[in-house]
Subunit: 408 residues, 2 copies
């Protein structure tokens, strides 16, 4: 199966989707902070939400909408600058008012509008600004490439670059489009608690199958990346399918086109997830951790996440220090039952540790590998045949800079 990237693609690369991104005054510097995605055709919708007990108001609202109206979503309003989390009943009313205002301006029903928010926790949404921003965003809706990119800009917080892409997949002469955007650079950790993302497609997926495809895609992408181990109150990924590609409804995973569409969705999610890590707060290096020889994929993933979460591993990579003992140490406290005498570790193609014993370290070669922007670590547990890959970034002075003064 072939995935074709659409050069310069964004949400509006998918037929039938319009978008806009505008400033409404939530960000003090006047940057765009409100994005609108709109489909004139009702969409099948699926969503996954943060596992944090403190779910932000828009998470509670969207969860309710998706569970009752998964077949007729038409718009998503996303604001940055304010998370509307830990804001009590008033915050939930603000989210409902956001949806209602957008619905009125778009001429759709309130329950056809989803809402996402990201930014500072514990602060109420300034509703006057939000409503005025929605007015501008509705006026600015368009399906050109620039509008899709404008939306991906407007959802950024500490992100330094917008993250968006689009691809096509084909099945028996029919072409399906899939596009996504995501934001998130901190509070990024598995359990889908990672970020905000909207993925759209013109494939005629049913809500049930949209959910199946989304869950599989997220398990292999957003749930395999970690920046700082924090799991946010707001993280949400939405998949909207407007069916404009035509053809039979894709209602069962045995539908001949399902595999192609699902792979397209998985590809978009994986590229977005990697883009989040590349843009991790303060990140100077992108780190891929491949764990092989595990008894199960879950064990491989847990070992990988233990290494990806180690501050000592992350600071060593930042310092370009081949302190591989920290990698072995993080394998050892992963909670997975590992035989120390069976474990081997590589940095790139340089073997460092073979079945429990250190090899002489080629410092020059290790230094060259660690000087690259992308660092690859491979761990063989010597226990089975399963493997998993996780992605993380280094921990730098920049991370501390960004997070010591985020709110102020």
């Amino acid at each position: 199966m072939t995935i074709h990237p659409i050069k310069g693609g964004s949400l509006t690369s998918v037929p039938g989707f319009q978008a806009s991104g505008v400033p409404c005054g939530l960000k003090p510097n006047g940057d765009p902070d409100l994005a609108l995605v709109y489909s004139p055709h009702p969409c099948a919708a699926a969503a996954l939400f943060t596992t944090n007990t403190f779910k932000a108001a828009p998470v509670l609202y969207d969860r309710e909408i998706i569970s009752t109206e998964p077949g007729s979503i038409r718009a998503v309003v996303t604001n940055s600058g304010c998370a509307n989390a830990c804001t009590g009943e008033g915050g939930l009313a603000d989210t409902r008012a956001t949806a209602a205002h957008a619905a009125e301006r778009l001429g759709v029903a309130p329950e056809q509008v989803l809402v996402m928010s990201t930014g500072v926790i514990g602060v109420r949404l300034p509703m006057t600004k939000i409503k005025s921003g929605i007015d501008d965003a509705v006026a600015g809706l368009a399906d050109d490439a620039a509008s899709g990119h404008a939306a991906s800009w407007a959802i950024m917080t500490t992100d330094t670059v917008p993250k968006t892409l689009a691809v096509t997949v084909e099945h028996e002469g029919r072409r399906y489009h899939i596009a996504g955007m995501a934001k998130g650079a901190g509070m990024i950790h598995p359990n889908m608690a990672t970020m905000l993302s909207t993925v759209v497609t013109d494939a005629p997926l049913s809500p049930e199958l949209a959910r199946t495809a989304l869950r599989a895609a997220v398990d292999a992408s957003f749930n395999r990346v970690s920046v700082d181990g924090d799991t946010s109150t707001n993280d949400t990924i939405l998949l909207l399918a407007n069916g404009q590609a035509g053809g039979d409804a894709i209602e069962g995973s045995d539908h001949p086109a399902y595999a192609a569409v699902a792979e397209g969705i998985a590809t978009v999610c994986l590229e977005l997830a990697k883009a989040l890590v590349r843009d991790g707060e303060g990140a100077t290096k992108f780190v891929e951790i491949v764990v092989q020889g595990a008894r199960s994929v879950d064990e491989a993933r847990r070992v990988g996440q233990s290494v990806a979460g180690s501050l000592l591993v992350k600071t060593a990579i930042y310092g370009q220090d081949a302190n591989w003992g920290r990698i072995v140490c993080a394998v050892g406290y992963s909670g997975v039952d590992v035989d120390p005498e069976a474990v081997s570790v590589w940095l790139g193609d340089l073997e460092l540790f073979r079945r429990g014993t250190p090899l002489g370290l080629d410092e020059e070669r290790a230094a060259a590998l660690l000087a690259e922007d992308e660092v690859s670590i491979r761990i063989d547990l010597g226990a089975g045949l399963a493997e998993a890959t996780v992605w993380t970034c280094d921990l730098s002075h920049g991370y501390v800079d960004i997070n010591a003064h985020y709110r102020t």
Copy 2:
């Protein structure tokens, strides 16, 4: 019960214990790096070790000795600068050779000598230096105050200050002495995987009761602190009891003096654990997190550790930013089933969040509280009567500095 601190106390404040600390060339700058603790009288010994699967050679060795010879320990050799972890069979042979050499010089049996190592992982011990250091350390053994302090200096790695103290407790006119030393500033996280520590007492504890007292003390101290969430390969705490205080052997927890001695041990462990956090790598602030209103102590502890482990909380405290939403967020992903509408949060005596709703933030008061060296966070889960306290430090530029280039 009264705990009396011994001013300027150290291991040698306990009758019958001698100590020394010498340089043997493991640290490039010539600082002391080998400590010896010696008791002419055989000691009852108990120990707790790291939960990391990759246990360093001295951990494997000590575990074997303690399980077979818990009643006749007479010496502990500790080196800094090299962890002797992930060093295979050769590393274990080095540990045995270390014990054998010290035993020969002290005129005791090899199985009466315990060994601890701390420093870089994956590097073999330079045995010529170690043996020469042991010779010097044996020659330097003394029971004056300076010798106890010299030992506590010699076990430091990235520590900026030595950690040692001594106390006495009394029961029915008999005075018991308890003293401890510890090192550790990074790779510090609960599960006893925190550091190296040696605690000594002249109480006539049996090995079994020494273990009971040590486990209780560690659960309430070292297992409640976190610096960076990493769990090292080497962490060990030893308790040696030489019985020189006299009196009946303390063999059951119903012995009338047991409670006093156990409280003394717990106090020494708690003060050492707090000292580790105060000296956490790069720490500029000491943070106490009290979790109340939990259904169980374990749930309170888990919530506290989730907050203590949050990089976002720790960087906000470093930046003196009252970003309390990050505290609530970390409560929410602790894994403990919490009712968001029942949770309240205080910074010092300033209530920030009451039963799920933010209170207006007094920025000036919050800034004043965060400008202090010691920051107190209190969380009420509103679910029960249990509580627990954990301690951590902030995450600063200094942490990144120290760990980006530790090995080189």
